[in-house]
């Protein structure tokens, strides 16, 4: 296990930002999650702290009290140096069904032109890879996914749409992702994922954690309709696979 050179900066009076080297790198992400787990398990109580991992950073926010900056920075440095390998987090691979029918994939034909790939090839490329969740933010349940193949890199649309539908699966730059709710957005929409990524009525409203992986698989419109009913009545079984750390 590598120890990275980390930097610790105050972020207002109640928060501290811990930063790793500025790369999109799964090993860095794993180290961040292990450290986060170590802090939660030993030093930072769940009802006092919000801990937010993203790409190369971990932000620690105290809900009530101002932080004694110098003291806390010194503690964090010690904690990082003393963290144990055993803190590793169980991660999951989530298999998410996407319907790439043109009814949902409203930009598919344009993407086909721009990328010089057929719709079938776009679907094949998009479903072939496992994407790593490097962060969750922007909207409740919105995953920042890394690992998009080069062939699918496409600029954002020049003018964003006022409303992109909940579940819309999009491509933009080096990213792919799913809109967890209706939202304005500028991504190129290629399909729709019917599994809700954020359900406020559930005790665990968002099943995905940073560090998990996501793989999409294509379903036909008929199956989409069927699964949609299963989701509405609460009998849909989402496929999840444990990933070895």
């Amino acid at each position: 296990m590598i120890d990275y050179s980390i930097s610790i900066k105050p972020f207002g009076s109640k928060a501290m930002l811990v930063e790793w080297p500025n790369h999109v790198d799964e090993d860095i992400l794993k180290d961040i999650l292990n450290f986060s787990n170590f802090l939660k398990g030993n030093y930072l109580k769940e009802n006092e702290w919000d801990i937010i991992p993203a790409y190369n950073s971990l932000t620690l926010i105290n809900r009530n009290d101002d932080i004694n900056r110098d003291e806390f920075i010194a503690k964090l440095q010690n904690w990082y140096a003393s963290k144990k390998e055993a803190e590793s987090v169980q991660r999951h691979l989530w298999k998410l069904p996407v319907c790439y029918d043109l009814e949902f994939g409203i930009d598919l034909l344009e993407v086909e032109d721009k990328l010089n790939l057929s719709v079938a090839e776009i679907i094949q490329e998009h479903t072939k890879h496992q994407y790593t969740v490097f962060g969750i933010g922007f909207l409740p349940g919105f995953m920042y996914l890394g690992g998009l193949p080069k062939q699918l890199e496409i600029p954002r649309r020049t003018s964003p749409r006022l409303t992109v539908k909940k579940g819309a699966v999009g491509l933009a730059g080096k990213q792919t992702g799913v809109y967890p709710q209706n939202s304005p957005g500028g991504w190129n929409i290629i399909g729709n994922c019917l599994v809700p990524l954020f359900s406020p009525q559930k005790k665990e409203p968002c099943f995905v954690n940073v560090g998990d992986k996501v793989q999409f698989y294509a379903i036909e419109k008929a199956e989409y309709e069927l699964r949609k009913i299963e989701i509405d009545v609460g009998i849909y079984n989402l496929e999840k696979i444990k990933i070895d750390a």
Binding site: F11, S13, E19, D50, N56, I136, G137, Q181, P200, C206
Partner: protein, 279 residues
């Protein structure tokens, strides 16, 4: 119960906010002007996270059906109970059938109507703060019925608070943000020696500043943001995230407002002047 006769321009229920899901992209929400809200809860001898109505710009008209004690504060909105004027930060006994109304806003932008025991709307993910689509609705509508516990026996320790109002304050105290060191001398000079004004784009998610400064072209990996985080875009826009602001962002976080500064800014509207002072 309270019945909404008129909802006002944009009125919401807010408490201290929704914690524990920032890592799932859920904004903290809660009172925009936490300073005023905390005074009201103290005066009513409430829990410090009791839910109250946050009124933006123009106030609602509300009919109370059970006896209670209320208190208003934050912006100055010329409130009345059954047409008799009421003052900010003063307790008033409410009898069933009383109608509370708000007239024109004369100072500030957000007023609060706090009630003994707090409003008892349904909690979603541990908070009553409105935030669509976490909560079903984004604001209070006409004919809504809002629950509270009727209390006629409240004997307050004090009935009135003199507060050092922050409505006239224009200076926002800021800390260095994580990407503060990217700012060059020219940008620093403009940020700290210039007066700025609030743009039309101001709401519970973010306040944008009307004037632009030289931008920052810096490609950073998406990282956490907080209420009060000031981002500087490549085009030179300063965007100040507020209580419903997104939990992550990709623009450099050059400054961070102090908590008190968030309350001061929450009372500013389009065109109001502000300036920044480093803590």
């Amino acid at each position: 119960m309270l019945k909404v006769l008129k909802p006002g321009f944009f009125s919401t229920i807010q408490d201290n906010g929704r914690y524990g899901l920032l890592d799932k992209g859920v904004p903290v929400s809660g009172y925009m002007d936490a300073f005023s809200a905390s005074k009201l809860n103290k005066l009513l001898e409430n829990e410090k996270d009791s839910a109250m109505i946050e009124v933006t710009m123009t106030g609602p008209q509300l009919k109370f059906t059970q006896p209670t004690t209320i208190c208003i504060g934050g912006a100055t909105v010329s409130g009345t109970i059954n047409n008799a004027p009421i003052l900010n930060y003063k307790l008033y006994t409410i009898n069933s059938g009383d109608i509370v109304s708000f007239g024109k806003l004369s100072k500030g932008f957000r007023a609060y109507i706090a009630i003994k025991g707090g409003f008892q709307t349904k909690k979603v993910l541990n908070s009553r703060s409105f935030f669509q689509p976490i909560t079903q609705f984004g604001c209070i509508k006409k004919d809504d019925e809002i629950e509270y516990k009727g209390i006629s026996s409240f004997k307050p320790k004090i009935s009135e608070l003199k507060i050092d109002s922050h409505l006239d304050k224009k200076i926002l105290k800021v800390f260095r943000g994580p990407e503060f060191d990217l700012l060059n001398d020219k940008q620093l000079e403009e940020i700290f020696f210039q007066k700025f004004s609030v743009s039309k784009e101001n709401n519970r998610m973010a306040y944008q500043i009307k004037e632009t400064i030289p931008g920052l072209n810096y490609s950073m990996l998406t990282s956490a943001t907080q209420p009060g985080t000031i981002q500087l875009t490549p085009a030179g826009k300063l965007i100040i995230l507020m209580k419903d602001g997104q939990t992550t962002g990709g623009y450099p976080r050059v400054l961070q407002l102090s908590e008190n500064a968030i309350s001061i800014l929450a009372q500013k509207k389009y065109g109001d002047k502000i300036s920044f002072k480093l803590e």
